[in-house]
């Protein structure tokens, strides 16, 4: 059931994300920057809130007038700030909801990701508390409605002796002290929200907390444009003698409030409790079955730190050496955080399929899918290739090529393949071309796998793809699991290009001076090809 909903949602996101990918490019795609945009809107809310506080009167008699003064008399700066404050808050809710749905649809909430998923739940409560107390402060008809329904909801819980809602049904019962409490909450709760947002990303390596500058700039400009087009306004002064029966609701913050009229308060609480209980348990419904975590082989680990640098889950840290080898540090894997994506294997300089040791070993490896097995699978898949030109696909198991039947070697993540594996396939003439096929570029299942693969191939990140590898024989295709047709098209185009190149020639990628590399045992490429 949950799986079916996930797949349905995934299709929905595909429909939205791919056109956005084409328009914005993967780097600027807003759908892939939801968390970062959430942080960005938080800062807009914080800055605009501080600005508004300069003009706001926290006394109950003057609060409404001060907001009107902001909105009407100083519309061109404070009024705009009020609109920015309102709409950025609404956008935070949008970002939160879509971010949550997207992470769910991509199955990014189980396994070690339970921590981020679970710490996201208090963010919902804190964000809504911040927003609701904010609406309270305007002290207009909407504030009266919010105050009444919120307190009626709270009164349903057997906590308070006297119903709080009685404060909002007659004039003279509410004091400025209560209002000051609301002001305090509207300042304190967002601070706590920021703290939990920080906790939320604690277990993630290189979290995206800032959107790309171009996207941030466009978002800010768009917010300002919308603020001028539709300024946020109040809905008339509170009148406690009249029921706030007709209000323009903020449907992002208050969608449950009308339900109290139809279902009753108890049912709304039951709905909330059921929702949060179910969402809280989801990481274990069912739990993610995962392979055994990566293991460090100290004999082949020189403490270079690349695996710790590349791990997307902060699962590897460098610790003091425990053996007698002359290196200061060694890698240490935290099994509780490791998802067995294999990115560390691809980053290890010892991970060379050229090595001629009796059993291929590397500094850090997956016990259930070691580098030795990867090389064996590559050789076997290459031997099974029959069509000419022979093209081998190294496919991420979450991407568009994972479902191909032949000529494919599947990996948990494309960044598990060390660049030397490409070199190995071409130079040993296992295939005329190699396709590295990952997830959609803006939706890498293991967050950083595509980035690392691209940077390694481009010679921007260690370990580099060696210069001798003819780049024309390597293609990267980034497609989601639902884009197998697009993968087929790009694959066919690549096949045509490889057909035009012809077979791998003896000296094609053995430039003069390409030295033997005793470290990875590749010897001379001329020698390898000639042998």
């Amino acid at each position: 059931m949950i799986g079916a909903i996930r797949i349905l949602l995934r299709h929905g996101f595909e429909l939205i994300e791919r056109p956005f990918d084409r328009l914005f490019g993967p780097a600027l795609n807003p759908v892939a920057q939801l968390g970062a945009l959430g942080f960005f809107f938080f800062w807009i809310v914080a800055v605009s809130g501080i600005y508004l506080f300069i003009f706001f009167d926290t006394g109950i008699e003057r609060a409404y007038e001060s907001v009107e003064y902001i909105t009407k008399d100083h519309w061109y700066h404070a009024g705009v700030m009020r609109s920015l404050h309102r709409y950025a808050s609404d956008l935070m809710v949008v970002m939160l909801v879509v971010h949550m749905l997207r992470e769910f649809s991509y199955d990014h909430y189980r396994g070690v990701r339970w921590f981020s998923w679970l710490t996201g739940l208090p963010i919902i409560w804190l964000l809504y508390t911040s927003g609701i107390t904010g609406y309270w402060l305007v002290w207009d008809r909407l504030a009266q409605y919010v105050a009444l329904v919120t307190s009626e909801l709270l009164d349903w819980l057997p906590i308070f002796g006297e119903p709080i809602a009685r404060n909002f049904i007659a004039t003279g019962t509410l004091t400025s002290r209560f209002f000051t409490l609301m002001v305090f909450m509207h300042v304190a709760v967002p601070l706590f929200l920021l703290f939990i947002m920080w906790v939320h990303i604690l277990r993630i390596s290189r979290p995206k907390v800032n959107p790309p500058r171009a996207l941030a700039l466009m978002s800010l400009m768009a917010l300002i444009a919308v603020s001028f087009w539709k300024p946020a306004v109040s809905q008339g002064h509170v009148d406690l003698a009249r029921a706030p029966v007709e209000v323009g609701l903020d449907w992002f913050y208050l969608p449950l409030y009308p339900l109290t009229d139809f279902w009753g308060r108890g049912a709304v609480w039951a709905l909330l409790a059921a929702f949060f209980l179910m969402v809280g348990l989801m990481p274990w419904l069912p739990p993610l079955r995962r392979a055994r975590p990566a293991e460090v082989d100290l004999v082949h680990c020189n403490g270079c730190t690349r695996c710790a640098e590349d791990c997307p889950y902060e699962a590897i840290r460098m610790v003091r050496r425990t053996d007698t080898l002359p290196f200061p540090t060694q890698a240490q894997v935290n099994p509780a955080l490791c998802v067995s994506c294999g990115i560390c294997v691809g980053s290890c300089p010892s991970s060379s399929p050229f090595r001629r040791t009796e059993e291929l070993r590397t500094g850090i490896d997956l016990p259930d899918y070691p580098l030795r097995e990867l090389r064996e699978r590559v050789v076997a898949a290459a031997e099974a290739l029959q069509d000419s030109p022979r093209i081998l696909v190294l496919a991420c198991e979450h991407g568009g090529a994972a479902g191909r039947l032949s000529g494919v070697v599947r990996l948990p993540c494309v960044a598990m393949a060390p660049p030397s594996l490409i070199d190995f396939i071409i130079s040993r003439r296992h295939a005329e071309g190699v396709v590295v096929a990952g997830c959609a570029e803006s939706a890498c299942y293991h967050r950083l796998g595509i980035n690392w693969a691209k940077q390694r191939f481009a010679g921007q990140r260690d370990p580099y793809l060696r210069a001798r590898v003819p780049r024309g024989r390597l293609a990267t295709i980034w497609t989601s699991a639902l884009e197998s047709r697009r993968f087929d098209q790009e694959f066919a185009a690549f096949r045509s290009r490889i057909a035009a190149l012809g077979p791998v020639k003896r000296d094609t990628h053995a430039p003069a001076g390409a030295a033997a590399n005793p470290a990875d045992g590749s010897a001379s490429i001329k020698e390898e090809i000639g042998s």
Binding site: L91, G161, P163, M218, A241, V245, V247, L249, W251
Partner: protein
């Protein structure tokens, strides 16, 4: 697509999305009760007498108590429930026995109920029993209400004066 045109389209798409968000920030309008109606609210907080009077303990009972907890009287904390009824135009629309609040049942009883009525003239009668009597009520008030559209009419009870308040 040229880069400037592309950026322009990107910006317009973001503006359109944000404008949709802004539109939903106060629309559509929600109407809580039908046109031409108002709300009568019955709400008060009132504690009835204790369920039983204080009883003087016998010397034997006092002797059984721990030395640091000895007392002369035993005063049960629990209050009795309050019975309340509200009639509108001769028909009882609310009748309840309000239990005392608090874990020990020693807090006041409370009620907070809303009734949506069509605007216009209504006969109201409210009754409350907060003593052990089996029949009849200790506090009553009736009156005629001209309920205006969207009006919030509150029926409260002032314990200090021992009377219902219409406002």
């Amino acid at each position: 697509m040229s880069s400037i045109l592309r950026i322009g389209v990107q910006f317009l798409v973001i503006v359109a999305l944000f404008a949709a968000v802004a539109a939903f920030s106060d629309h559509p309008i929600y109407r809580q009760i039908p046109q031409g109606s108002g709300i009568v609210m019955l709400t008060f907080v009132h504690g009835s007498d204790r369920r039983a009077e204080c009883r003087r303990l016998t010397p034997e009972e006092i002797a059984k108590l721990p030395p640091n907890m000895r007392k002369v009287e035993d005063c049960p904390r629990r209050r009795r429930p309050i019975d309340v009824e509200l009639d509108v135009d001769g028909r009882t629309i609310f009748r309840a026995s309000l239990s005392p609040t608090g874990i020990a049942g020693d807090g006041p009883s409370r009620v907070y109920e809303r009734f949506v009525l069509p605007s216009g003239r209504h006969d109201l009668a409210v009754r409350m029993r907060d003593t052990p009597r089996a029949e009849g009520f200790d506090h009553e008030r009736s009156g005629v209400l001209e309920l205006a559209p969207d009006q919030l009419f509150v029926i409260d009870y002032r314990s200090a004066n021992g009377e219902f308040v219409f406002r």
